[in-house]
Amino acid sequence: MIASDTTYRAIASVFDVPVLLHELLEQSARTHPTKTAVICGEERASYALLNTLANKFCNELRTRGIQPGNIIALIHENSLEFIAAYFGILKAGAIVAPLNTDSKPESLQAILTELQPRALIASAKQLAKTESFKETVFSPMLVIIGDFGDFPNNKNIPHTTIRRIVTDWTPVNDPKIDISPEAIASIIYTSGSSGRPKGVILTHNNIIANTRSICDCLKLSQNDVQMVVLPFYYVFGLSLLHTHIAIGGTLVLNNQFTFTGTVMQQMINEHVTGFSGVPSTYAYLLHRSPLREMREHLPDLRYCSQAGGHMANSLKLDLRSALPDHTDIVIMYGATEASARLTWLNPQNFLKKIDSIGKEIPDVVIKILDDKGIEVGPGEIGELVADGPNIMQGYFKDPNGTSHVLTDNGYRTGDLGYRDTDGFLFVTGRRDNQLKIGGNRVDPQEIEDIIMESGLMVEVAVIGVPDEILGVVPIALIVSKTRETAGEDLFVFCSARLPHYKVPRYFLPVAALPKNGNGKIDKSECMEMVMQLQKAHDAASQTRYSHV
């Protein structure tokens, strides 16, 4: 089921010397050049080829004036091109900012305005989203189109395409650029805390440390083949890339998870050993996929890992019964601010501690602190505060936000929970009521602000209610200015401004919102109100509330 200790120690030796993130790729390219690193559709790239591609990207960037420390935005679907560009940027000593490919143009504009990247690498589809503002809100000195699309209309900005960069497959030497392990490697945006995504600054050291710890826990080896259905702009997805490149494993990229039949078949064909997802990934797999009927054909599947929010016990048990007996389930917990992961639940304890997020991964220390910053005892609830070499440097251009979460005790996760007498950690809720929708962190305030922007509301409260697929979905309690206001109008209004997962599933009209003593909206009472309304509605009809 797991690699032997001898094998593992040999792999761990990879990390015995300080390395930069891209040196993981270079090392694997030297160690096993012909081994398949990436499978994407019909494409298969060996480590030697992948490293050559990254080197060509790096050389192109340097030739065009990119300097160490420059920020480069990377907006590209999971692909060989993404990986080559990602490592090429790092090799040039630049800072890579992988951005959400599901973002609407308005969200991208806000982030790119903040980042002011020196270059933009994007697929043609993503580049099209930036057309209306590319030259007004930021001025990249270079645009690289990461797939085979054409450069749209305006040619004032120097641009090129992958096809021009990679004209042949002649190996190119690894560039020799003096980069400190303490240098910033990437800025990864959270999915939207405090109403707006925050750019998390991570150094090479941060990511390397976390990569090492994850490889350790999962006992990853070069024999591992990881199915990747999570996007690389999401830190969980990115950690799959880092860990498997580090150990010389194989990444199978499948961007069509919705077609689960295809994913399952590919897992069988490619002898996949690892699968990773957020709770909604597994809910979907269990709800609509041939997993159960194909379980006998997955002899190689060593483990499934889950992170990105609490997964309901019923879902965990369903997954346990659906997977082959030899497949471990690894529950993990983390944050973008932690380079990816903070804890893991050893599969041996899966049933015994099914509610738990496990214990710290190597090098991480988590304390449960009360409001005064004093550590509480076993069973007592406090905030989870994490420390370790994987903790971020801060939020990009946000000193206030940074000082709020980075304290002398470490990184304040905002999650409330406790540690039991056996040392296992449990999360009971969010300190600030953020919602985790399908693995995305969403602040209800952002959705409330958008609804209020419509000008149709007196007040609004967005809360999260449990959902089988996404874990949580947002629901809006609305107090309308006029009786004529229809949920349909708000649905259209929000859909034009928010990603689908942030659009409230239901808009429930109420006469007023419950408030607490100081006049603030009482979210607990709101939740109670929603439950009552839902109960009444369910009794009256089987149809959805949505859009009504």
Binding site: D102, Q256, T258, F259, Y284, L470, Y501
Partner: protein
Amino acid sequence: MLLRKLGTHMFDQIWHFIVSNFLFGDAGELKACTPLLESGIIDSTGFLEIIEFLESTFAITIQDHELLPQNLNTIENIVRFIEHKKGRE
């Protein structure tokens, strides 16, 4: 063959469902061959809604192993898939 089917009742029903539920009434550049997922018209949640709609509207059961792009990633593929299924049932 496909062109003939584009005007059929089945095609219209599917088209209307997608336009009204995911495009807010504006078909825009939606075509019979537009990849619904890749183009961002629907996500995995929306996909489940389409499945539910197809099963209830056309009285079919879509098996999990039939959740394949060649069956369901465009409107024309969906029409072909359902006609094939109904022909078999």
